[in-house]
């Protein structure tokens, strides 16, 4: 390496730090330090009022025991995984499809885009309450829809078809799927917008060239759109995993973890332990177990979707 090259590298590094400083300063202060404080607390017994008492790995050992006994933390892990598996693939596929449709240059796209984004704009608490209403077993729109549907079937099939009304959120088997459905609905516009931004980054001339070469739209998608959207997909995937693993507000409002612990999630457990039981240390330990799990998953995701820096030929 020549002296000039190292000098340039040094200059580049210095510039980089100049760019990073304002953001990172705030970040260290309000994100990293609190995270480290929480890490410290995860090795302590801390009830908010009294000084934290160091208890080593006790909190983690307790979590291990809970998992091996299939206790409530184990259930929350299981439910959170169910939620993630239920929301992420479907949600992402729908969002991509929607972004492509909305991007196809139709009239009235503005209206569609806005409509699909509407649920994101509305506060999650208000949205959860409205959905509780939709899910209401006797007076809810959903069971009303089922009733209309079975009436229609009766007419078509010429004999009485009865789809019994469901109890949705009050049924241990249906509660989690109900929350998943609502969450997909709510998150769709969000991911759609990110995909839209990603689609804007693909230069038009690539498609023009492909069209001249006679590539079908389907071929264009797999040859151009999908590979060039890889960084966007990786981003949405990582963000979705993080978001799903921290699902809380809709659970808190709609079921508060019930019925029979069917919807309690990791963050619901963290919330309970931190603020109801005042076991800040134990709650922090849960948070770091969660962290370890998602971090691993994210690393795998980012590795699998490597090749973010695409060459444009």
């Amino acid at each position: 390496m020549t002296a000039r090259a190292t000098g340039a590298a040094k200059r580049e590094a210095r510039t980089a730090w100049l760019f990073l400083t304002p953001g990172l300063a705030l970040f260290f202060l309000f994100v990293l330090i609190p995270v480290l404080a929480a890490l410290y607390l995860s090795f302590c017994r801390y009830d908010i009022i009294h000084r934290p008492v160091w208890i080593g790995l006790d909190n983690y050992a307790r979590l291990g025991r809970d998992v091996s006994n299939h206790g409530v933390f184990y259930l929350s892990l299981r439910n959170t995984a169910q939620y993630a598996i239920g929301t992420i693939p479907v949600g992402m596929a729908l969002a991509l499809g929607l972004a492509l449709l909305v991007n196809a240059g139709l009239r009235g796209v503005t209206l569609y885009r806005t409509t699909y984004y509407l649920p994101v704009v509305t506060s999650l608490v208000a949205v959860s309450m409205v959905w509780m209403w939709l899910y209401d077993p006797t007076y809810g729109l959903l069971n009303y829809g089922l009733e209309l549907f079975s009436r229609a079937l009766t007419v078509v099939a010429r004999h009485r078809v009865v789809i019994p009304p469901q109890t949705w959120l009050a049924d241990p088997g249906e509660a989690m799927p109900a929350i998943i459905a609502m969450s997909i609905w709510r998150g769709l516009g969000y991911n759609m917008v990110i995909y839209l931004a990603g689609l804007q980054g693909i230069p038009d001339h690539l498609y023009e060239a492909a069209t001249i070469d006679g590539a079908s739209r389907w071929q264009q998608f797999w040859a151009i759109t999908w590979p060039l959207l890889k960084p966007t997909t990786a981003f949405i995937l990582v963000i979705s995993v993080i978001g799903a693993s921290q699902v809380f507000a809709q659970v808190y409002v709609m079921t508060n973890g019930g019925p029979n612990n069917a919807t309690t999630t990791i963050v619901h457990q963290i919330f309970q332990n931190a603020f109801s039981f005042l076991k800040m240390g134990y709650a922090s330990a849960m948070a770091f177990v969660l962290f370890a799990l998602i971090f691993l998953l994210s690393l795998i995701t980012l590795r699998l979707t490597r090749g973010g820096e695409v060459e444009y030929v």
């Binding site: 209401d136 009050a170 603020f275």
Partner: protein, 425 residues
């Protein structure tokens, strides 16, 4: 050039942040902070406090300002926790029926025995309400509103089913509920008894059967007792054997109209909100609503849930905070506050002073039953954990994941471990 542009932008951002932080605390009048967590959703409670009670208090205490904050129940715990952690707890704050043990044990509520002795109004409060604020013989607050849970039943339906009096025992309860239940296939058109899956219902059955959750000292679980198993078995039987209600509980209609008021249950155990709802949604039903003590097994119990006002030990103005508490407890003020929400004032003279208690004769019955059979939750620091654990155990038994005996044995062991962990202070 470009670099200067960034510098300028950055400076602007800093300037903005600097300007925004310009607000400083002024040295002014003495300020008291009051947190109200129970308020009506139509704004009446806030109007009463903000426009009448607090101005009256401030007028009587020149130089004192009260900052009233309305904290949503769902986030009260977070707000309380973080404020105590930061050393900025409110001077006076409202909490619920399960709080006294935890607050007292951690030093988050000021013991008030000496002040109360001087005040001399203790005997005016209903004993079941009062005991909500007592932990190990010391008093940590004043009861602000009460809600006794009694048996509500439909007189007309009961008569149709051939009964001449409301059920007084568990056997009669099961029999009457069964007789009144109307089902079409798996769908309940009328539940003989509205039963949510709830630890509160189990605790009622447990008490009626002479059982207890834990021992007097709060050091050992008593949930593996035969009384407890019997109580949970009976609770499960109402769903599975007598089939008087679906295991999901009768759903609240239309996201808002409660079960009993929407005529889809013949009986329920409910506080005075049961009456409130009938008045609101089905006023013509009111003459047919009967009120009775909850049926007994070994003893008669009416469980009472009371929300109360506590004083923070971090308060810098404890005498004033006490003045504010006792001011809000004055019979007239207490009655006015409870009237905005249809709660029972926990104080006899306030009940007597309250216009809405006279206009709603049914409420007098609630008061009588509360006075005669009332019992509040026993105080223990771990109530929130116990509540959650009990809920899990009860649902496991009702949804059939475990037998009642197994569910209680498992949870009893867990509870013993939890209680053994309590650090001596």
């Amino acid at each position: 050039m470009n670099r200067t542009r960034i510098v300028v932008l950055f400076a602007l951002a800093l300037l903005a942040a600097g300007l925004l932080s310009g607000c400083t605390h002024r040295q002014g009048p003495v300020e008291l902070e009051l947190w109200i967590a129970d308020f009506s959703s139509d704004g009446k409670t806030r109007e009463l406090l903000d426009k009448e009670l607090i101005p009256a208090f401030e007028a009587a205490h020149p130089g004192v300002k009260v900052n009233t904050q309305y904290i949503p129940w769902a986030h009260l715990d977070e707000k309380l926790t973080i404020s105590f952690a930061g050393g900025v707890a409110p001077d006076v704050f409202q909490v619920g029926a399960e709080y006294v043990g935890g607050l007292a044990y951690r030093g988050m509520a000021e013991p008030l025995d000496d002040r109360i002795a001087k005040w001399g109004a203790k005997d005016d409060f209903f004993p079941a309400s009062w005991s909500t604020c007592v932990y190990r013989g010391r008093v940590y607050g004043l009861p602000y509103l009460s809600a006794p849970r009694v048996l509500l039943y439909r007189k007309d339906l009961l008569k149709q089913a051939g009964f001449d009096h409301p059920p007084e025992t568990w056997e009669e309860l099961a029999e009457a509920a069964q007789a009144m239940t109307v089902r079409r296939g798996p769908v309940f058109e009328l539940a003989g008894m509205n039963l949510p899956v709830s630890w509160q219902v189990f605790v009622e059955f447990l008490w009626e059967n002479g059982g207890r959750i834990f021992n007097e000292e709060g050091t050992r679980s008593l949930l593996d007792s035969p009384e407890a198993v019997e109580a949970l078995q009976f609770y499960c039987d109402l769903y599975h054997k007598y089939q008087v209600c679906p295991t999901s509980g009768m759903p609240v209609a239309g996201g808002g109209v409660p079960v009993f008021a929407s005529r889809r249950a013949a009986m329920e155990i409910m506080n005075q909100f049961g009456i409130y709802n009938v008045r609101k949604y089905a006023p013509d039903l009111l003459p047919e609503v009967g009120i009775a003590p909850t049926p007994k097994r070994k003893r008669r119990v009416v469980s009472v849930y009371t929300d109360w006002l506590a004083m923070s030990p971090q308060s810098k103005h404890k005498d004033l905070a006490w003045d504010l508490m006792t001011f809000l407890m004055e019979p007239k003020n207490l009655a006015a506050y409870n009237a905005t929400m249809f709660f029972i004032p926990p104080r006899r003279s306030a009940v007597a002073a309250a216009g809405f208690m006279k206009e709603n004769p049914e409420l007098q019955e609630f008061v009588r039953l509360m006075d005669q059979y009332g019992q509040s939750l026993p105080a223990i620091p771990e109530w929130f954990e116990i509540r959650t654990g009990l809920q899990s155990a009860v649902s496991a038994a009702i949804y059939g994941t475990k037998t009642p005996e197994q569910a209680l044995r498992d949870y009893s062991r867990e509870l013993d471990a939890l209680l053994a962990e309590r650090v001596k202070r």
